[in-house]
């Protein structure tokens, strides 16, 4: 059990409060004035020298947002957010447009080093090609600070750049696809995002291309009192494939910070997008002070026949999570997948799940969700599976299991299963239980400590999901799970 021992030791080394990415980077930043109004929206747009159509698009969203009310149906409870008391734009000074990494503020590079994110492209050493290369787009508060491996990706025809850059370099693609999956007026948080979105990644994979490496974006909130509103847009053209990873961290702060992102995926005929997230925003301290409000709209559109979108998420951070990565299965024979591990500890509240909307014929979807609640946390799975009248032959399998550690936490399951035609076949199963005494006893009798035994059993519980993560992420996620559950065992 060397691996388990290692995990447990790592956990111990991190001391009481386990969040290890809680440091602050001292860097000068440039902010928009506090609050939100049309001028701020124009300011953000101007900062990014956006074309007029986009400024207008943002303003339209902003005006719409003013008429909307914050949703209250989720099982989360938080004090009212003062939207006027936030900074909607913050950027490290001199950051926009460094020509190469040498121009990037060394403080920033150190930050990413500390986070374990390689921003320097690995050199090819003595003819040995490094095996698992990952191209990274690093987003710091409101701007993208660096994108790696751009040149090599360009050779394959892959466009991977900050969305603010794509607006200028590929306006036709942005204009065509932006808001086509998550419309401006989709929901309260998505509409706010449409008005003030800062940066995020843009990916386009041309027809028939298998993206030569994993793409990833690393989000970091650094500045105080700022909201982060990134927007990611990924388009996989006919017959292409891309695997995309997303990671997030934030400093420990006493106040809550808002993160309202929008992710749009578009898969055309025969294309496949695999989207993996390890979400580790600061969850707040054990008393529930501070932490990120993670209110995210993620949706994929399987537009073409036989296309496929797969969401994998490991959710360990954030004080409050409100997130439902979904698939619209429009193309005939398209398929959607959702694999999720949601862990809550301390005072965290998670309300997460997915939607599988079957519109096309012979569409299939699969949902595997594993929720683990510990401490005083509340963990809700909320999911919808629906088959349209014309979605003949639709098929879904859902499995959502919850594990409870301790008697002060809650685990809830709220599935909506809607079949509107007879040839739809839906299966749903869910279980809730605690770690069985027998399993613990078995492991401990063989020499594992209580914590090790729990970590081992939990890793077994989530294995179905972990195996869908890219390799590097799986290792990372496994460690994260152990850390998140630290202190939850008797």
């Amino acid at each position: 059990m060397a691996a388990v021992q290692e995990t447990v030791e790592q956990v111990r080394a991190i001391d009481v409060d386990a969040y290890k990415y809680g440091f602050v980077t001292e860097i000068e930043s440039e902010k928009a004035p506090k609050g939100l109004n049309e001028d701020i929206v124009r300011f953000i747009s101007a900062k990014k020298s956006e074309p007029a159509w986009l400024t207008e698009w943002r303003l339209e969203a902003y005006r719409r947002w003013l008429t909307m009310t914050e949703p209250t149906w989720a099982r989360v409870d938080y004090p009212k957010i003062a939207y006027d008391d936030l900074y909607y734009y913050s950027a490290p000074k001199n950051a926009p447009g460094p020509k190469s990494l040498d121009e990037v503020d060394p403080e920033l590079l150190r930050t990413y080093e500390k986070l374990g994110i390689p921003l320097r492209e690995q050199e090819v050493l003595a003819g040995v090609e490094p095996k698992n290369r990952v191209a990274v787009d690093a987003v710091f508060d409101s701007v993208s600070v660096a994108t790696t491996f751009k040149a090599e990706l360009a050779k394959a025809g892959v466009i991977f750049c900050p969305i603010s850059e794509a607006v200028h370099s590929h306006p036709e693609l942005v204009k065509k696809y932006l808001g086509s999956v998550v419309p401006q007026s989709d929901n309260f948080f998505a509409t706010l995002n449409s008005a003030v979105f800062s940066d995020g990644s843009f990916v386009y994979i041309p027809p028939g291309v298998r993206c030569p490496m994993e793409l990833s974006t690393y989000f970091r909130i650094n500045e105080k009192n700022t909201g982060q509103f990134e927007r990611t847009l990924i388009i996989a053209d006919k017959g292409s494939y891309v695997s995309y990873l997303e990671g997030c961290t934030a400093p420990k702060r006493d106040e809550n910070q808002l993160h309202a992102a929008v992710v749009e995926l578009i898969a055309l005929e025969d294309a496949e997008i695999k989207y993996s997230t390890v979400q580790n925003w600061y969850p707040g301290d054990s008393e529930g002070k501070g932490g990120i409000y993670n209110f995210v709209t993620k949706r994929g559109d399987c537009r073409g026949a036989r296309s496929k979108i797969s969401w994998t998420q490991v959710e360990t951070g954030s004080a409050i999570t409100w997130k439902y990565p979904s698939c619209i299965l429009r193309g005939e024979g398209s398929s959607g997948e959702f694999y999720s591990i949601a862990i809550s500890n301390g005072r965290q509240q998670v309300d997460s799940g997915t939607k599988m909307i079957h519109l096309g014929r012979n569409t299939t979807s699969r949902i595997i969700s594993k929720g683990i609640s510990a401490g005083h946390s509340q963990n809700t799975y909320r999911g919808q599976v629906s088959a349209h009248r014309k979605a003949t032959g639709a098929r879904n399998f859902t499995n959502c299991d919850s594990l409870l550690i301790g008697d002060k936490c809650g685990a809830h399951t709220v599935p909506y299963i809607e079949a509107n035609n007879a040839s739809a076949v839906f299966e749903h199963e869910a279980t809730t239980s605690k770690i069985s005494e027998d399993q613990l006893f078995y492991c401990m009798q063989r020499g594992l400590s209580g914590e090790e035994a729990t970590a081992l059993i939990v890793n077994g519980f989530v294995r179905d999901v972990l195996q869908h993560l890219p390799m590097e992420f799986a290792v990372e996620a496994q460690k994260l799970i152990a850390i998140s559950l630290e202190g939850s065992v008797g």
Partner: protein, 423 residues
């Protein structure tokens, strides 16, 4: 952005006008005031997500009149032929009618009375507008007391008979004493009554160690009937409740069940089958609240849906903090027999204790082609093969009914429905 003032629908307006003309008791006035703050439930009300009562109740039928002596006599003689049980408590157009009942056949220790003081909300079902409406319009509640130690061998039948296309409200409270064993059958009959609107509430208070079986038959309802049936029960320690419902009649049937464990080591089984065709809409919504230690609940529902019909199942199992050793299992299965049949499932778990075993499952699909093929390969015609499979599907829940006479009767109901499919 404050709450918008609620728009009053025509139906709500009519209800208010009708209520103003009744001689309301204090409870009824409170109840109507509570209803008025909520209004008729609609899609945005989570518990009514798939059944938009506000939209479906366009016109409100007039309130039913008290039955004439002539009508009572007619019903009594009709029931002597149809009723399943010797001991029966009869309601005609929502009102308890001693003259049509057979109270003399009730076993010793069972008493039937009336009360104006039954509170608006049953212990376990608060803030449900249709229950407030029931309390507002039910002239008074009928109270059935089964004293501790009473020996109730044969089923007691609560027979609810509707004769006109009117609104009827019945409110029945059953107090079951400690250690009692009883079977209560609830029969709804409204054939020929046209588009009547029924709102019934059956409230059980089940004492320690009592064992109750409840069977509801919604088979002979009028094809145009709207029926909101509320069922609420609290259970004492070691008590046991099994409730089964068969829905085959009615245009819109909403069954809402609320059960709470108040004592430890109790058990509940809620089961049902709905056989739907035409434009029928049947919604079963239930909440089982585990508030005590070591209780067990089983929820098992089957839907067979044909034509343009819609089945809805919403089940919620709550495990309160401290309700350790809870064992809960919920399952809803549906077979859709036509292109436009619909089924909506929402099986919910809400769990605040860790030492529990809870699970739920839901399936929706067409008849299994392989099973059909198997039977047809053995020489059964298609229609017969289908009937056999559907019978087995519904039979799985019907066989849980302990009272053998009732089990037979329910099987016969299901068979009758199935035989109409191919006629």
């Amino acid at each position: 952005m404050g709450a918008h003032p609620r728009e009053i629908t025509k139906a709500e307006h009519d209800l208010a006008a009708m209520f103003a003309r009744t001689e309301a008791t204090e409870v009824a006035r409170d109840a109507f005031a509570l209803f008025s703050t909520m209004g008729l439930p609609h899609r945005r009300v989570e518990a009514w997500h798939y059944t938009d009562l506000r939209a479906k109740l366009g016109d409100i039928a007039p309130l039913a009149k008290a039955p004439s002596a002539e009508l009572v006599g007619q019903v009594a003689s009709e029931l002597d032929a149809a009723s399943v049980s010797a001991a029966r408590i009869v309601f005609v157009d929502g009102r308890f009618v001693a003259g049509a009942s057979r109270l003399s056949a009730l076993p010793a220790g069972v008493r039937v009375g009336e009360s104006d003081a039954v509170p608006v909300w049953p212990e376990v079902a608060r803030d449900e507008p249709t229950i407030a409406l029931n309390a507002a319009f039910a002239p008074s509640a009928t109270v059935i007391e089964i004293a501790a130690g009473a020996d109730v061998v044969a089923p007691i039948e609560i027979y609810s008979y509707v004769t006109a296309a009117a609104q009827t409200y019945a409110r029945i409270l059953v107090r079951v004493g400690a250690g009692v064993r009883a079977t209560i059958v609830e029969t709804h009959d409204g054939e020929g009554a046209g588009a009547h609107q029924k709102n019934s509430a059956l409230i059980f208070e089940i004492g320690d160690d009592a064992r109750v079986e409840h069977i509801a038959r919604h088979v002979d309802e009028s094809a145009e009937a709207t029926h909101v049936a509320s069922f609420a029960a609290t259970l004492g320690a070691r008590a046991q409740l099994d409730s089964f419902a068969l829905v085959a009649g009615g245009a819109l049937t909403r069954r809402q069940l609320y059960v709470r464990f108040d004592g430890d080591h109790a058990r509940v089984g809620l089961r049902g089958a709905a056989l739907l065709r035409g434009n029928q809409h049947c919604d079963t919504t239930l909440v089982v609240d585990h508030a005590a230690l070591d209780c067990e609940s089983r929820e098992r529902f089957k839907h067979i849906v044909e034509d343009e019909a819609t089945g809805v199942y919403q089940g919620k199992v709550i495990v309160r903090p401290g309700a350790q050793k809870t064992d809960g299992a919920m399952k809803s299965d549906a077979i859709l027999l036509s292109e436009s049949a619909r089924m909506h499932n929402k099986p919910e778990l809400e769990i605040f204790a860790d030492d529990v075993v809870c699970g739920h499952g839901a399936t929706v699909g067409a008849l299994d082609d392989e099973q059909l093929f198997y039977l047809r390969a053995r020489g059964l015609p298609k229609a017969e093969a289908e009937t056999l499979l559907l019978e087995a599907f519904a039979g799985e829940v019907i066989e849980a009914v302990r009272d053998e006479t009732m089990q037979e009767a329910l099987r016969a109901d299901a068979q009758a429905w199935l035989s109409e499919r191919h006629s």
